[in-house]
Symmetry: C2
Subunit: 485 residues, 2 copies
Amino acid sequence: MTVKTLALAAALFAAAGAAQAQPPAPAPPPVLTPEQFQLQVDAAALRDQALKGSPAYPFLRDLTTEIGERLAGSEAEHRAARWAVARLTAMGFKNVHIESFPVPGWTRGEEQAELISPTFQHLTVTSLGNAGATPPQGIEAPVALFHTYADMLAQPVGSLSGKIVVVTQPMVRAQNGSGYGALAVMRFMGAAEAAKRGALAYLVRSLSTSDSRLPHTGATDFPPGMAPIPAGALSVPDAEQLDRISFDPSLGREPLRMHLVLTPSFKPGATADTVVADVVGRERPDEVVLIGGHLDSWDLGTGAIDDGAGAAITTAAAKLILDMPHAPRRTVRLALFGAEEIAFAGPAFAAARSTAEQSHYVIAAECDFGAEPVYGVALPGASAKTSYGAMLAETLAPLPAYVDRAPARGGGEDIEPLGPNVPLASLEQDGTHYFDIHHSADDTLDKVDPQRMDKAVAAWVAFAYLAADSDVDFRAKPPGKSATP
Amino acid sequence: MTVKTLALAAALFAAAGAAQAQPPAPAPPPVLTPEQFQLQVDAAALRDQALKGSPAYPFLRDLTTEIGERLAGSEAEHRAARWAVARLTAMGFKNVHIESFPVPGWTRGEEQAELISPTFQHLTVTSLGNAGATPPQGIEAPVALFHTYADMLAQPVGSLSGKIVVVTQPMVRAQNGSGYGALAVMRFMGAAEAAKRGALAYLVRSLSTSDSRLPHTGATDFPPGMAPIPAGALSVPDAEQLDRISFDPSLGREPLRMHLVLTPSFKPGATADTVVADVVGRERPDEVVLIGGHLDSWDLGTGAIDDGAGAAITTAAAKLILDMPHAPRRTVRLALFGAEEIAFAGPAFAAARSTAEQSHYVIAAECDFGAEPVYGVALPGASAKTSYGAMLAETLAPLPAYVDRAPARGGGEDIEPLGPNVPLASLEQDGTHYFDIHHSADDTLDKVDPQRMDKAVAAWVAFAYLAADSDVDFRAKPPGKSATP
């Protein structure tokens, strides 16, 4: 600190003292009991063990190498579940089992698109999950191009009859993925909205922050009773090419026409498999800290970052706890969900657990945002201000990562159906580059750095162990400024 | 300069003085005549005009938007040539015409590959140009995997009978593209070498520095009389996946088997079109400074960097000279070659020009390395030491770019057939990221930054103008240390 900043600090201090209407000073951090202090020391040791090399990368490498892509409901997804059962059993987990549930059994078909007027251009396109099919020879139709999703929604019902509707709105890069959240409706609901307006087919610019020619798939949804229309994603360069062509003064007078082949199909009676495994608690085994990721992936890549990484990170965190000299007081339950992309495993997982059983779920958190480090943890309600929050903050600080002062706003598609009484946490991973490859053929192992992924494991093991080997109650309201759990 | 570095400099100076066997001090730079000084001032003005915004980007944008991909011999390539004739005519160039020549008419077909043992994996693959075809349903065969090209070459003739040969050697990233040069033989000759050894088909890891799932195509070659076998490039992640699978202890005991569909075809009687245009010299119009790029591209992308950029950069440089108040003394000839990828336009271009005509070609240079700035210019023979070299060095310095002390070692596939009496120069562009997208579907306009491309135009216009508006003779041996051209 220089003389100048010292002077500035003194001036600010004086100004703060002078202001009468300041909010009350923040409560001092909770004082830890000797037992809590020991807990924190143990959590730090687990964190450091993760950083030295956790089982996450070998798990992810073997899953993506020995299995590869694993679309929910496919033969490969079932093979992945059997692979995970064998792997988790060999690692020493208890109660390892599969829970099956029905899924739509959607399967990708042929994919081809060309602009045929005003100039010929090959376009790279991929079907959206749950979308319908064109005839095998495809369709040829005029294009209705909208530069924003709102422009498309502003069209009256029926006005897009006979058109291939294309929306080219770009998504924003953001560390926490909020750029995706803001625009996902364009993909998830856009096909149904276009169909309402008469569209023959619907194409969106990929929800992607990359400039790759590879398109990014993802699920779309049709309300009950509506027949799915063909729907797909264009790569970012192709969407930009259509924008340019629509603006080109030499070409702009002729209408855009496209030929489109998308022939996915549904396989009735398909099921997917969630794999569950436990580190059984030594004192209160029925109290559960639930962590996990989803084992299914899209079929274009090998699902390394989405979500092999989440499965690997949480498996590694649980394994580090499993290998401690004594089990934690509570059970750490690992769930590798069998469907998150094309369908959701969460409702079946929740339905398989009674309200009474769920009332013993201490906390649940899902890891589904790639293989990059965790930079912050959001806890339920006011838990950040408890002893648990203080211990976690201290353990995460060297990574570095923080405990968010704001509460968690959700936990992930597979755990949110557990009901309002299961507290949810959110471990935030750096997603600045996540949407460069998410849902595309580029989601492959080479994109994962083992050391960076182990930083995520370090945060997860600290989070889970501190919850499992203590009596923290994330449902409790903190009684006051110096609250302890 | 600090006291410490001053002292160091003095010590080095003393050491240099003390050494008796030092090479002679370099010759002082040539003294410019008043006319040469004016020439340098004019070249600097052209350079600065290019930096303010040249016609390169509009040319490239419209070529890739209104035409798109343009494989030599295809209908699109002919359309691109007609487009270029109209564009260059409208820009004011003279003697604008097309020179047609025969090409093999190779056309891409279906492309599909799967590893079927020891585990199922979709593989991304693309045919190499000039390669043969599998039957429509593909072939299924055991894989012979080699981690280096030398390992494959070490196999005896006949020993790879019935195998799909895969070579997974990675290429090295290098600013000047030497990593590509070192390994291009693996793609260009590898299919024929594998065929000699009995291979059913040949696949190489893409000559790529990216980790994209998109494979990178390129030409391969078979000696006369040898039937082309199917040959393709795997994406980098897929080649790495095959390496991992071949090493995986859980999978390694079963042999690798692959299903492969590649169905390209040849269209006999195909031709391609080179477009030629002039800025006619005011004093010695038969003396020609030849610059250009190639108008054809691979069919996977829109050929923005390979080589729409080269065509655009040299067109822009010629146009800036065309728009000067008076024409340069010599003619600046622009050639947009009709085939460089799947076949070469150079031999036909050279054959159309007599030895006598070629003896008036002052210098030739081809631009075919993307849209990034020029960082150095290599001149023929000892030309770097002439007045021309000094003027060019001074003009390039602010970009920054240098005149290489070493002579140019070649000039590009399309101009080298012009024969040993045509001096060749090489304007080196930064290729650090060129091979991330080169020859792949990712070669699209969005990868080009207009301002960075104009830095290349600035170097090209300085190079061409200084040669065209002077009497420099690049064939002359400099008479001594203080040589002037």
